[in-house]
């Protein structure tokens, strides 16, 4: 069960009610999410676990406004996502959400600095300001000396650090990470996790999808999905205890 006490005292960043997602294939209806109810609070660090095909990525994509649910309600802050236009969804993705992908997803023809700047570019941040902030973020993830390198010149761990810097560009409300360490060895993986921990310590809301118990162990709460439903929720972190 989700954390019961702090509901009234803390702001829910994300709230989903009876969220459903089905794919309508030619000969069948494939129900992937079968009614999920959840709330994520400001400053929370939540992990989502579950067997392959249980709908974790699907859920994360919906939370990231990349995908649309086929039923239920999704409130992000004060916005009901179902009511927003495509342009407004783009704006939400750009301003409110920071994505970190398993396969890094940097743009190969841009250098590191430009990759970090992309998200700000679409929010009309002036060039000078964009530059300043991108350099600051690159410095923060320890890549100040790699600004003009192209992504393929970096190691996986370094690429993922660029992705973290990029996700922070517009100071988002939540960070969504889909198996951020899935493609990394344990050393660079733990560096990345260290960074996520630090971000959360600074107050960022983070939702991370993972197969790794060690990753889940660092989070305050773990939502276990099974076949499109919440199987159980494991509470462990400070999110509830300090309420």
């Amino acid at each position: 069960m989700p954390c019961p006490q702090p509901n009234n005292s803390r702001q829910a960043v994300v709230r989903i009610e009876n969220l459903q997602k089905a794919y309508y294939l030619p000969h069948q209806e494939l129900s992937v999410l079968k009614g999920l109810d959840m709330a994520f609070y400001e400053g929370e660090y939540v992990s989502i676990m579950g067997p392959s095909g249980s709908g974790k990525s699907t859920l994360l994509n919906i939370l990231g406004c990349l995908d649309k649910p086929t039923g239920g309600r999704y409130m992000l802050g004060e916005h009901d996502i179902a009511l927003l236009s495509d342009d407004e969804l783009s704006a939400i993705r750009g301003r409110r959400i920071g994505f970190i992908f398993q396969s890094f997803n940097l743009i190969s023809q841009l250098n590191i600095l430009e990759n970090i700047e992309v998200a700000m570019y679409y929010q009309q941040v002036p060039k000078h300001q964009r530059h300043q902030r991108a350099m600051m973020l690159a410095d923060r993830v320890g890549l100040a000396d790699r600004l003009h390198h192209r992504p393929f010149e970096l190691s996986g761990g370094q690429q993922q650090r660029v992705a973290i810097a990029r996700s922070l560009a517009n100071d988002p409300l939540i960070i969504l990470a889909d198996e951020p360490t899935g493609n990394l060895d344990s050393k660079s993986g733990s560096e990345i996790l260290q960074m996520l921990d630090e971000l959360n310590a600074q107050g960022k809301t983070i939702i991370v999808v993972t197969h790794d118990e060690n990753v889940a162990a660092r989070t305050h709460r773990t939502v276990h999905l099974l076949d499109g439903r919440v199987e159980r929720v494991a509470e462990r972190g400070p999110a509830c205890s300090n309420a």
Binding site: S90, F99, N105, Q109, A119, Y122, R166
Partner: protein, 431 residues
């Protein structure tokens, strides 16, 4: 806004540069299309300007009747061993036109003949033009010094002459020509004026004219009263041949030019002249030239060129455009992942459209500029080797630029929308 635009252009240029071979090959269609547009317009414009210049020279309301030697000329007095061929326009033709054709505002008879002319020790063959005082009313003539022939000169068969600048340069290098005596066909004429006939065409044409006339030994023109020419030089030219004895030609007038008051009157008057000449000339020893028809001919030339080159241009632009669309679709599918990433990072559909559209338009604009450069070379080659005048107008350049941009927009729109409407999730999953 400007910063954003230059940003978009920069990104597009970079991605075009990354695939420069592909970009280069893709723009070939546009390059050839645009260059044929430029060439077409330049040739068409050249033809019509040339026609206009010719008409300005010949006069759009003039009708020119020229004496031509009929092919089946009769042998006059075969027995005497002397043959005089008599043909061509006569004074009574000119007289008849003046009296019977109401639209004939001005009638100018002209007789031309190459003649030896001499000033001091300099001797040269020039074209002797016997004409009337009102000759300048038909052919634009600029008086540089002195005066043209006067009615009194004609009336009294004065031995005066007016020479053109070309002859001036040859005969009088430093002397003041006015008042000097020029020896023509053995008799002396007083120089009373220097004239320049309106430029026939460009400088090159003039040089070519000079070259040609030097070949035939004619250097410049001498205008004298036609009455003087008749009385002093006569109308018969005798050539002393070998076995057949001497032969001669008797031609009264080389040409008669008639000016009508308006362009609409040109064709009707031509018809009247034609039937009148048929009646009084048994042989066809004349030719009617209507400058206005040159204009029609030029328009026809221009139209043919426009159709031929226009079709080449249209096909090549269409094929080029489709090629570009094809490549852009390939580019879009190659960059599906990038599109997904950009969408996840907050790019609106509009942003994606702008990105790909600007890439296509830049591609076609670069192609268009190259096409313009190439297109500017083709007319030069046409002028040098095809001996056709060409004119590249700024309008043609602007039009070509517009066409390139238009092709980019037209054929870039579909790939750009295709890119923008891809599902972000599927794009992100794309390998």
């Amino acid at each position: 806004m400007l910063e954003r635009m230059t940003g978009v252009v920069q990104v597009s240029l970079r991605s075009l540069w990354m695939h420069r071979l592909r970009s280069g090959l893709t723009m070939l269609g546009i390059v050839f299309g645009v260059s044929s547009v430029i060439a077409m317009l330049a040739i068409g414009e050249g033809a019509s300007q040339q026609a206009q210049e010719q008409i300005a020279h010949l006069g759009s309301t003039n009708i020119i009747i020229k004496t031509v030697k009929p092919p089946d000329i009769e042998i006059g007095d075969a027995d005497s061993g002397q043959t005089i061929q008599e043909y061509g326009l006569r004074y009574d033709d000119a007289e008849r036109f003046r009296e019977t054709i109401p639209d004939a505002q001005v009638v100018v008879p002209v007789r031309r003949q190459p003649q030896q002319t001499q000033y001091r020790s300099r001797r040269v063959t020039a074209e002797l033009v016997g004409t009337v005082a009102w000759y300048p009313e038909l052919v634009p003539i600029e008086i540089r010094m002195g005066r043209f022939l006067s009615p009194l000169d004609l009336h009294y068969n004065q031995a005066v002459c007016v020479i053109d600048e070309m002859l001036l340069d040859i005969l009088f290098r430093v002397d003041d020509p006015i008042g000097q005596q020029l020896k023509i066909a053995g008799e002396y004429y007083l120089v009373v004026g220097i004239v320049r006939e309106a430029a026939v065409a460009s400088q090159e044409d003039k040089q070519e004219f000079a070259r040609n006339t030097r070949g035939s030994g004619v250097n410049g023109k001498i205008y004298i009263p036609i009455t003087t020419m008749k009385s002093r030089i006569g109308e018969t030219q005798i050539q002393f041949g070998g076995s057949t004895g001497s032969s001669g030609e008797k031609v009264e007038l080389s040409e008669i030019t008639i000016k009508v008051p308006a362009m609409e009157r040109v064709i009707p008057t031509r018809d009247v002249l034609s039937s009148m000449l048929e009646q009084f000339h048994k042989k066809k020893d004349y030719q009617i030239i209507v400058p206005l028809e040159l204009l029609r001919q030029a328009a026809r030339t221009k139209r043919i060129f426009s159709i031929v080159l226009g079709s080449i241009a249209a096909i090549s632009l269409l094929v080029g455009g489709i090629g570009i669309m094809n490549i852009m679709l390939a580019t879009v599918s190659e960059r599906t992942r990038e599109i997904g990433i950009r969408r996840a990072l907050g790019a609106r559909k509009k942003d994606i459209v702008i990105q790909f559209l600007s890439e296509t338009v830049l591609l076609t604009l670069i192609g268009g500029l190259l096409g313009m450069a190439l297109g500017a070379c083709i007319p030069i080659l046409v002028t040098v080797f095809g001996k056709m005048p060409t004119v590249i107008t700024p309008e043609a350049m602007i039009l070509s630029f517009g066409i390139s941009a238009g092709i980019g927009l037209t054929f870039g729109l579909y790939p750009a929308y295709h890119a923008a409407n891809m599902d972000p999730i599927e794009s992100l999953r794309h390998e």
